[in-house]
């Protein structure tokens, strides 16, 4: 583990859809083992930012680097680069016609051409670690949302990615299931994984983050450590945003 090592480097990227500027001159460096949580109102460009980082979306301006390599959908070795970046989506996106084990082992076997026996063994270990041993031969429809999302995380982990991207992975889940998924992510944090997490779970963000990025209107409005961000945000905009998560006691009219 080398905390000085730069894993992902984002230099002045901009991205627009039609007339709308979704990302406007964003720069960010992610170091090895660092956990960055990205928060912000909906439509502020959080998901687009993540999608630019593994080349699912092309940037209009600027550069994204994974190590020495440029990340862009149009570069020739983009599939090799994407292998090195794990991504977990809000809607799980497991393959419905494959069992959980097949879902997890497909990419390492087909994309990375690893041996079935070795992949199966690792898949079983990882699935056990997230509490899904009993579900291996079941199909996604037989699992709860939280179980599906845990399987999706394993599916990303087995590729041995250098960095993991989480795009609102608990947004579609019931509170109890949110917890089981977040616990898996906390476990990953303990293993010193490099992670970028987009979430609306503020308590979780505070617990897991090394750095909190507050994104609004396509800009990085704040980039601070979680203790500071959640207690004393530097900007009004961030304060307003954080206030939307607290409620005043209702004083009923008599």
């Amino acid at each position: 583990m080398n905390r000085e090592k730069e894993v992902l480097k984002i230099e002045h990227i901009s991205k627009g859809f039609d007339q709308l500027n979704v990302l406007d001159d964003i720069s960010l460096t992610v170091h090895e083992g660092e956990i960055i949580v990205i928060v912000g109102p909906s439509g502020c460009g959080k998901s687009t930012l993540l999608r630019c980082l593994n080349g699912l979306e092309a940037v209009d301006d600027g550069h994204v680097y994974l190590g020495e390599e440029t990340v862009n959908p149009s570069v020739k070795n983009i599939t090799r680069i994407r292998e090195r970046i794990g991504m977990v989506f809000q809607s799980y996106d497991l393959f419905p016609h494959k069992t959980i084990l097949e879902n997890v082992t497909l990419a390492p076997m087909k994309v990375q051409k690893r041996k079935r026996a070795e992949v199966n063994e690792e898949a079983k270990k990882l699935l056990e670690r997230v509490g899904l041993s009993a579900k291996m031969s079941q199909y996604p429809r037989q699992l709860s949302g939280g179980q599906k999302q845990r399987a999706a995380i394993v599916r990303a982990l087995i590729m041995h990615p250098e960095v993991l991207l989480f795009d609102e992975v608990t947004a579609a889940l019931d509170p109890e299931m949110v917890r089981e998924v977040l616990d898996v992510m906390l476990d990953l944090a303990r293993q010193n994984r490099t992670m970028l997490i987009v979430t609306h779970e503020m308590a979780f963000a505070r617990a897991i983050a090394d750095r909190v990025i507050f994104l609004d209107g396509g800009h990085i409005v704040e980039d601070s450590d979680p203790g500071e961000f959640f207690t004393l945000p530097k900007t009004d905009r961030a304060r307003k945003f954080l206030n939307t998560f607290t409620f005043d006691t209702v004083n009923k009219e008599i």
Binding site: R80, R82, D93, P96, K98, A107, V111, R141, M159
Partner: protein, 221 residues
């Protein structure tokens, strides 16, 4: 009711009909499947959007499908003669059947593939899968129920079309129905051919639905 000669004729007719239907479905898919994949890949939100390629494919597809089969059969006579050597009989009928079914199949394949959840395709992309890997390991696998159902429907359609080709000497049960039932007023033979066609259709459809149910892992059995 029938002498052995008629029975034999009906047997040969049934064989010819099955031969035309199955072989033309097979060749139709050899052409139509890649065609449909190309349409899916090059469409607006496809993996490789390409307006020109999609536009041309789309145009060819619509043109061929808008020509009634009977007209296509006649239009293609010189082409059929060039490929098979003659323009009548069951082998010759396969040519227009394939030409007519390929664009139809392409459309069915395209719409089956379009239905695969974009998120699932994106997940595969994010794992570093190449386009070919996505086609074979994700699209075909996830769309297999729909692809298979499409093939069953196509087979049924081609069964009907092969009978239609009987009007121009195409061979098979349709040919018998037209020659005996229509030109010679032998209603009994026509009824039997129609019954045979119904039975064949039922077998294809029911077998197809049985297998497509077995392929489906999304719903409870």
């Amino acid at each position: 009711m029938f002498d052995p000669k008629v029975a034999e004729m009906l047997l040969i007719g049934t064989k010819d009909t099955l031969y035309m239907t199955l072989v033309s479905t097979l060749f139709g898919y050899l052409l139509g499947l890649p065609f449909g994949v190309i349409l899916n890949l090059t469409r607006k939100n496809g993996l490789h959007p390409n307006k020109i390629v999609y536009g041309i494919g789309d145009f060819i597809c619509n043109i061929v499908r808008s020509i009634p089969f009977l007209i296509l059969l006649i239009l293609l006579i010189p082409f059929t003669r060039f490929i098979v050597g003659k323009s009548y009989g069951s082998t010759a009928t396969i040519v227009p059947l394939v030409v007519c079914s390929a664009p139809y199949i392409a459309r069915i394949v395209e719409s089956s593939l379009n239905e695969v959840d974009e998120g699932v395709v994106e997940a595969a992309k994010a794992m570093g899968a190449s386009t070919l890997q996505i086609i074979f390991k994700v699209l075909f696998v996830e769309a297999r129920v729909s692809l298979f159902t499409g093939a069953v429907i196509t087979t049924g359609l081609l069964l009907g079309y092969s009978a239609m080709s009987g009007t121009v000497g195409g061979g098979g049960l349709g040919d018998i129905a037209v020659r005996y039932g229509y030109y010679r007023w032998q209603a009994d033979i026509m009824v039997v051919t129609v019954l045979l066609l119904i039975v064949i259709f039922q077998v294809i459809q029911n077998l197809g639905m049985y297998f497509s149910g077995r392929l489906d892992h999304r719903k409870k059995r």
